[in-house]
Subunit: 482 residues, 2 copies
């Protein structure tokens, strides 16, 4: 892969300007490039590999929970969008329309899919006749387009990559269980693979998916205190089943509408990994998602190279055989110091240094990316120690992010308190809400914070609405959000 040999400026410190820090890091780590198509990015190999790692982990979990992959058409006839009223209103302004093939106009416009409930709903109506045809448990890996006004690499792009699960069930209960199950799968993935703690909860009506009965989300906290919606799982009731006529003959010989769900996670999760774990030196990748988990760097004067290099190469083999993704940078073009900085910037969890003095003492040095701690390990212990160390780092990164989240989540009794929390203290604000859209809108207007979700397990239950002070129906997380 071509390396950017231009002068790359230093990374702006997070404390100085978090947004510039983010752009500096993703450019310097060569994860993406801007494209000539408005709001669309190029996923460069180092960025795309992160998505491939996410795909592998998610795909395995989807299959373990009984889902299979399929693929549905990209282009969706305009009439399909009319069949679910909220859905068309929600997506219409962002839809790219194909109106011509070559020089010939199309009879019916085709939308580039923003999501696939409509076309999949139509197909399910063809496939479902009897209760024996249910459930249908399908996932699709695909690209989707939503023409966004304000875009930010990975976090909000006009085209993005995602997976969208679409299931149909004979009963409401089964569909609701599916919605919950998949929120659990996403939680497991975020917390145990990406080391990102998440808050599970339900979206308020104004924030739910257009056409859903209920939307559940995972909300994660970035290091600037903003929220990022990491995944959503929608219980669609029979809304789409009625729109597309997904009916089946039940055991009791009655024709009924199916209950459907959908759930998705997108390439924006790459942005979350960067913003949760990154620091002023650059990326910091949790070991389970890191493409290279350990980088071996031979050190010492040139004349010792002949002695050190074969040992370094043996170590690569030994570490690889221990099931670890390991690389080596033995190039003579760059100094060890340059390499240390480079792989720290790229977020490699562990660096292994080996030089002539280490050989004399039958040892190597392991350096953690997360804490900078150095550890001297006997050469014959490397294969045992490295996998354990990676697990320790994985756990430490999660604990650190969890601690950060806990320190930055506080209750608020008034709009002013929300304002202070989200604007000055980089925090989420937990507040009571009466259930009135107007009160929710007022919080946003006055603080810039939107309702994130109504948590399943709030740390405290708030009793009065943060706006009107009437009795609270819900306890809600408010935060500024990506």
């Amino acid at each position: 892969m071509a390396k950017d040999k231009e002068f790359v400026k230093e990374i702006t410190p997070q404390s100085e300007d978090f947004s510039r820090w983010y752009i500096d890091v993703i450019k310097k780590a060569d994860l993406m490039d801007y494209s000539p198509v408005r709001g669309c990015i190029v996923f460069k190999p180092d960025g795309y590999e992160l998505w491939e790692a996410c795909q592998r982990e998610l795909d395995r979990r989807f299959k373990e929970t009984g889902h299979r992959n399929a693929y549905f058409p990209l282009l969706i006839p305009e009439s399909f969008f009319q069949k679910e009223k909220e859905h068309v209103e929600g997506f219409n302004p962002e839809l790219p329309w194909v109106t011509q093939i070559g020089d010939d106009p199309l009879e019916e416009r085709l939308a580039v899919r923003p999501t696939s409930e409509t076309i999949i709903g139509y197909m399910y109506s063809q496939w479902v006749q009897s209760y024996r045809d249910l459930p249908i448990l399908i996932n699709q890996w695909a690209n989707v387009v939503r023409w966004e006004k304000r875009t930010l690499p990975f976090l909000r792009t006009s085209e993005f990559l995602w997976q969208e699960g679409h299931t149909a069930h004979a009963t409401q209960q089964e569909a609701e269980e599916e919605t919950t199950r998949m929120l659990g799968v996403y939680t497991d993935f975020c917390e145990n693979v990406l080391a990102i703690p998440v808050i599970q909860g339900q979206k308020t009506p104004s924030e739910k998916f257009p056409g859903a009965v209920a939307t559940y989300s995972l909300e994660a906290m970035m290091k600037d205190g903003k929220a990022l919606q990491a995944a959503t799982s929608h219980y669609l009731g029979d809304n789409f089943a009625r729109g597309f006529d997904i009916q089946f003959l039940d055991r009791d010989n009655e024709r009924k509408y199916a209950y459907t769900t959908s759930w998705g996670m997108t390439t924006r999760i790459i942005g979350a990994v960067i913003m949760v774990h990154g620091d002023d030196r650059g990326l910091q990748l949790p070991p389970r998602i890191a493409i290279t988990q350990v980088m071996v760097i031979p050190i010492g004067p040139a004349k010792t190279r002949e002695r050190v290099l074969p040992v370094a190469q043996d170590l690569v083999k030994v570490i690889k055989d221990a099931g670890v993704r390991v690389g080596i940078d033995a190039s003579e073009d760059n100094s060890p110091g340059w390499k240390f900085n480079e792989y720290e910037m790229r977020g490699v969890p562990v660096r292994l240094e080996v030089g002539p003095r280490d050989l004399d003492q039958h040892q190597v040095v392991l350096v953690r990316r997360d804490t900078g701690e150095k550890e001297i390990v006997p050469i014959d212990q490397v294969a045992n120690r490295v996998p354990d160390l990676l697990e320790e780092i994985q756990q430490a990164m999660f604990d650190r992010a969890k601690g950060y989240l806990q320190e930055h989540t506080k209750p608020a009794m008034t709009i002013e308190e929300i304002h202070t929390l989200v604007r000055e203290q980089k925090s989420f604000a937990l507040a009571g809400w009466c259930g009135d859209d107007a009160c929710e809108a007022k919080v946003k207007e006055e603080t810039g914070a939107s309702s994130r979700n109504i948590p399943f397990a709030p740390p405290t239950t708030m009793t009065s609405c943060v706006v009107c002070q009437n009795e609270a129906k819900h306890t809600v997380w408010f935060a500024r959000a990506y």
Copy 2:
């Protein structure tokens, strides 16, 4: 997955109507469904799994040859198509144009990508400054759209899935080597994974990729004697480099244009697997691509079920531990006979039958899908025998397809002979060609056979043009084609 419980008619015999046989098989094996979008199909889970298996095998080979995956935008500005003249003329009639976002017209139309040379060429021009930035070796897994007038599931659909490799090199020689290398990777995949023998060669100028200097192809023979282009690899010279200004400063301090290549394989390869190996009983999947390689089916009267089932389940475990993809159908809804037919139709390479009498004799029966041969194997030998048997089947399927190809490839001295070969003998015709487009066109006009490629290793060298009888410059395969 929902099963189609409707009455599914018998499979039309290949000899009666090959096209109907093909559609019957893919519908009955539940590989696809027609979609409401013209010319686009739904890849159902059983069909999509075949593509996933192809992806795994190809992706590994691409990475082993030094390539990395990336992702570029779906929508391509109209002006990009103007930069390579042949390219725009070749693709323009099939391009879907996005002209509006929501209700607002776009200033510049955006094409839904038919292939990505243009947008990738533009990006490479940004990334390449020096010879040190070369080569760039990138592959993309993506969907593309080409609005086809006549479509056929998998083989020719308006939207299809594929991979497209795009590389840039400092020298012509290196780019040409890359083109050849990737044709070799495809050949390895087709022959050793899909058990499909292929003919390597170069396309004639009228059949080459719009904008390429040279297009190389793999041509495979379907059981009806038609050709299917299994993969292409294009040497693009500096055509796209000049169009998009991919220039670099070389070692000698001169600015030069890069040389580029592209190469692709699509979901049409699924159709090839079906048409090369399938028979009147249905699919026949080569073991290396089969999702289920062995299906275990307990047999015998209901009262023996308690004895047989635990053994069958143990066998599943033992076979799985031997690294084989194995399933079991122990359902009581269907008879063993029904199951035998079902998994034969679905192309599972080996069936394992186990019943009470087998238990008495500590044995099972293995049945090959390809030959129908039965083999009695002692239970404690199953884990050893099954992997070997799968390899034997893989090899036998390739040999059988290779034999078929050899029997159906013959030289032709006249247009009439080509006509007879391709129309009556289900064959490819090897013929001399003077190099004149008009002679090539005349063959097509009079026989329906197009030039497939100029083989690297023709079985015979033809000396006079099959049309004008002047001296032949090339020896060409002609065939009717999908």
